[in-house]
Amino acid sequence: MTSSTIEAPRSPRPVARKRRVNWEKWGWLYMRGSGVLLIVLIAAHLFTNLIAGQGGVKAIDFAFVGGKWSNPFWKVWDTLLLWLALIHGSNGMRTIVNDYVSNPKVRKTMLIALLASSVVLLLLGTLVIYTFDPCPAGSLPSDLPSFCPAQ
């Protein structure tokens, strides 16, 4: 028996890599899932605020918001709107930045700005909804919802 050497294959055996989370896939799915939910959330948001009341946006003031946010239903509704819409929008903007900004440094800066502004607005919005006082002390009674105790 003559021994023959077998040439090593041109491409080495791939090093087994750890399976990573496919973030792009989940982002893609998120856009579709949140999109469907947002259609329902925004339709009701626009209907209650612009159609159902008398005068559309003219009927909206502090007392109107106070009335809505004294109901836990609208607090949860608006929290869902805030989180789903802002993440949907920022992810869309991320796609657009990736498409049009070719300079890697500018691109990275814009993505960081996008992430930072989204985090700040999510925290701010959530804090506002859950620390909101419909009857703040020292306000004109005419500015407040009708259920506020006389001051």
Binding site: R32, G35, V36, L38, I39, I42, L46, L50, I51, G55, G56, V57, K58, I60, D61, F62, A63, V65, G66, W69, L82, A85, L86, G89, S90, G92, M93, I96, S117, L121, L124, G125, L127, V128, T131, F132, P136, S139, L140, D143, L144
Partner: protein, 148 residues
């Protein structure tokens, strides 16, 4: 896809389907869908998306003023009651309406087995539903803008 994209001008498709009429020559020949419904829906989806995003940033900040004081919130929401803002609001609802309906079309293209085949028809269905939606909203909105 020859009849949809206007790309194929050569011999009939390999499946022997000779019934496909040669596509009408167009100055956009040689491109996948430039200038067609596919491109315009994509362009409109981007423009409406970016517009809604920037409104959303402002809207979160103006609503946050309820945490400052009733006067601060009422002062800022008062600027939304100007007729010019009323037209802006109409444009916003129109943008949201298109983005929502075309978003459903995109989902159907992605998940429905017949989606890509009917994407052009679905674009015109989106436009039709959008017109119906605005026919309901705009008169009501105009009444609100011009009422005292």
């Amino acid at each position: 896809m020859a009849e949809q994209t206007g790309v194929l001008t050569g011999p009939p498709a390999p499946n022997g389907d000779t019934k496909v009429a040669p596509p009408r020559p167009s100055r956009f020949q040689g491109t996948l869908y430039r200038g067609r419904e596919g491109m315009w829906s994509w362009v409109l989806h981007r423009i409406t998306g970016v517009s809604i995003y920037f409104f959303l940033l402002v809207h979160i900040l103006d609503t946050a003023l309820v945490r400052v004081s009733p006067q601060a919130y009422n002062a800022v929401i008062g600027t939304y009651k100007h007729p010019i803002m009323g037209f802006g609001e109409t444009a916003l609802v129109a943008a949201i309406g298109f983005h929502a309906l075309n978003g459903l079309r995109i989902i159907l293209i992605d998940f429905w087995s017949q989606g890509t085949k009917h994407q052009r028809l679905m674009f015109w269905i989106v436009i039709a539903l959008w017109v119906i939606l605005l026919a309901g909203f705009v008169p009501r909105q105009m009444m609100n803008i011009f009422s005292e």
